[in-house]
């Protein structure tokens, strides 16, 4: 089973049925898998804060939402996380490609990477970091935790995590 299939299986097993995405090379396989699942309403966003708005509405409508985005989006979404998702206490699993870590070929990506964990920590957002395939075994528990505590939760997935699957 591919790691993308496993992750989306975990989403489905936890009732996640509304996922918004922005394009990402690393996450392309997961996005394709989300699109392929009839159990999930897949709604591409033009920007990640827009996606978080969609997720907030979907949650209030009875869905279990999630967002799939790049870590650069942390820079885009701080206000939305603080004044919408956290302020109204809503759950939001954030599956995040962690560009700018080991094996990164584009220097500019490093600039956001060095801020990513500090920003998440400053926002008091529970954060998990997947380096290797077996780290994804925690996905099920992370999703249960997110919907238990009604918080945004970050899952950082670096190139090493995806790298074993042919891309780099």
């Amino acid at each position: 089973m591919s790691i993308s299939t496993k992750i989306v299986d975990d989403f489905v097993a936890n009732g996640v049925d509304f996922i918004t995405t922005v394009p990402c090379k690393q996450l392309a396989g997961v996005i394709d898998e989300v699109e392929a699942r009839p159990e999930i309403y897949h709604i591409p966003s033009n920007k990640e804060d827009e996606g978080m708005g969609l997720c907030a509405g979907a949650f209030m409508g009875g869905k279990r939402p999630a967002i799939i985005m790049q870590n650069t989006a942390i820079g885009v979404t701080i206000n939305t996380l603080a004044t919408l998702t956290q302020y109204y206490r809503m759950p939001l699993p954030m599956l995040i490609s962690y560009r700018g870590e080991l094996r990164e070929p584009v220097a500019c990506q490093v600039e956001m990477a060095v801020h990513t964990k500090a920003l998440l920590q400053q926002m008091l957002i529970p954060t998990y970091h997947f380096h290797k395939e077996s780290d994804a075994d925690e996905m099920d528990a992370i999703l249960k935790y997110t919907f238990m505590c009604n918080k945004p939760v970050a899952i950082l997935t670096d190139a090493s995590f995806w790298g074993g699957y042919g891309d780099q």
Binding site: F18, Y41, I43, P44, S45, N46, K47, D49, E50, G51, M52, G53, L54, C55, A56, G57, A58, F59, M60, G61, G62, K63, P65, N79, T80, A82, T83, L84, Y87, Y88, R89, M90
Partner: protein, 184 residues
């Protein structure tokens, strides 16, 4: 008419619907005019009224009205293609277009200059875009609800604000009672 006068006039129509109301004065005005558990007041996050409303409409069957402003839609212009391409026939985006950023002191928006949001929405693929004058808002809104077709309404009105207090209700209380109304 100014926005608060329009809200006062359409309050009887809004009362029976799920309403997601834009940050700042629009939420304060709606809260003062006719507070209902079916109103979701945004206390922050400018620009996302349309996105929250669309997400809510896609998630369940009841009619959802997002009350937005021209400045707010300009903040999140990507929302219009997302709305156009994810058709929810229980969704109405009502843009109260007074050509200004009301909550911050009526600075002019580009919608008050050369930009026509109704043309932008149509170009983005929104199929039912209605432009109306302030005095016709109630009639047009009711027609949109009755049509059961996803509709974008651009209401042209005057800029201007009234003095009124902020909303002190706890955000989690707003959210909780709203969710109970959605489920009812």
């Amino acid at each position: 008419m100014i926005r608060s006068e329009i809200l006062r006039e359409i309050a009887p129509i809004l009362r029976d619907q799920l309403v997601v109301c834009n940050i700042g004065l629009p939420s304060q005005e709606l809260h003062m005019i006719d507070d209902q558990p079916t109103n979701f007041y945004m206390l922050g996050t400018m620009g996302l009224s349309s996105s929250i409303g669309l997400g809510l409409a896609l998630a369940q069957d009841k009619t959802v009205i997002s009350i937005d402003g021209d400045g707010s839609v300009l903040t999140n212009l990507g929302t219009l293609p997302t709305i156009a391409n994810n058709v929810a026939d229980n969704y109405i985006l009502m843009i109260i277009d007074n050509g200004s950023y009301g909550s911050t002191g009526d600075q002019p928006t580009y919608a008050g200059k050369k930009t026509k949001l109704e043309a932008v929405a149509a170009a983005c693929g929104c199929e039912n875009v209605v432009t109306c004058k302030d005095v016709d808002t109630g009639k047009v809104l009711q027609a949109a609800i009755d049509s059961k077709k996803m509709t974008v309404i651009v209401v042209k009105c005057d800029s201007g604000n009234i003095k009124l207090p902020v909303i002190t209700m706890d955000p989690v209380v707003i959210r909780d009672r709203f969710m109970k109304s959605v489920q009812a």
